[in-house]
Point group: C2
Chain length 205, copies 2
């Protein structure tokens, strides 16, 4: 059988595509450019990803794994206090946004770029199994995933109005990512610090 002649090929394609999609936007990057920069043949790419949407889904899935891992590492490092864990969560996302070359959140950016793909209110019989859907559903699933983490931690806090606090923290996180689109590195640094400071105040840490 030996069905995988070059095990690194898929990952190399995915890494190249991810870098380009994230840096320039999904619509701005064509398959030709990915093929030429990945140094692979066109046949091989379409063998691993039958369509561009598949490749985009692979891109978002890859970012998602890394994002989830990074979040859980940050949470674990923060200890057991849900207050500290919430601050660590926002701090981790702040670090992500202030990294050089950062262009914010891959998922939110995708949804801005493709507003017509399964819009916010729709539940059109989509494949609800995690990780198998379209790019848009993948993006929304991840956002819901993070929201669930926030809800869980806020719930542990035992405050009067947990939904209210969770909404506030989500607003801060969204603001953090939106600023990546238009603020310079200095402003981003200050934006991330602001997000962490605000989080600290909101959770009462």
């Amino acid at each position: 059988m030996a069905r995988t002649p070059a095990p690194g090929t898929r990952e190399r394609i995915l890494a190249t595509a991810s870098r380009l999609f994230y840096a320039h936007g999904v619509r701005a990057v064509g398959m030709n450019r990915i093929i030429s920069e990945a140094g692979t043949g066109k046949n091989l790419l379409y063998q691993h990803f039958t369509t561009k949407d598949d490749l985009v889904a692979g891109y978002l899935g890859r970012v998602r794994e890394r994002r989830v891992d990074a979040i859980h590492r940050a949470l674990d490092a923060a200890g057991d206090d849900p207050r500290d864990r919430l601050v660590a969560l926002v701090g981790e996302l702040g670090d992500l946004v202030t990294r050089t070359g950062s262009r914010g959140c891959a998922f939110r950016n995708y949804l801005v770029e493709f507003p017509d793909d399964s819009p916010a209110g729709s539940t059109d019989g989509a494949d609800t199994s995690v990780g198998a859907g379209t790019p848009a559903t993948l993006a929304r699933e991840h956002l819901a995933e993070v929201r669930a983490v926030i809800d869980g931690l806020v719930g542990e806090l035992g405050t009067d109005d947990p939904d209210r606090l969770a909404d506030e923290l989500c607003l801060v996180v969204d603001g953090l990512f939106m600023q990546a689109a238009h603020r310079d590195p200095d402003g981003l640094r200050r934006g991330a610090d602001t997000a962490v400071r605000l989080t600290r105040r909101l959770v009462g840490a």
Copy 2:
């Protein structure tokens, strides 16, 4: 001379283009669709807007005028207290985001869609005269404009660290607009309420 045979044409084109660009994204809408939905000839469109970038600039300029007007009306209606005016500013933007069919901020969305056009840190000898530049400069100009309004109002407050408060309010505003990309109408309503409530708390009103 009588150089303007049909005075309403330009505005009709601009209205159609604005609706389509805002709803579906700039890249997703082609000139053909604008022409067909505006009911005008292709020649006439290119007579008023020599290139698609011109049309996009016209779109953003149009949104900008209306946005600035709406902001100033809201500020005037709020009275003289800078606290009330800041709350009114965020409230106005919240209303904008919760309107049916809203897709958030046209300027921020454009910058997400075209990250390579005059990126955040660049000051490549662009035309700095207001309203005459490329879409990207137009977008950045408007964001700076609103930031200046916030800075001014925060300055009137006479707090210890005005830059800090202004950063916090900008984070809230950015979060408000980012949520338009991925929250459903119910979530958006709560997000807007959260933004106003948070603003009230931050400015001490």
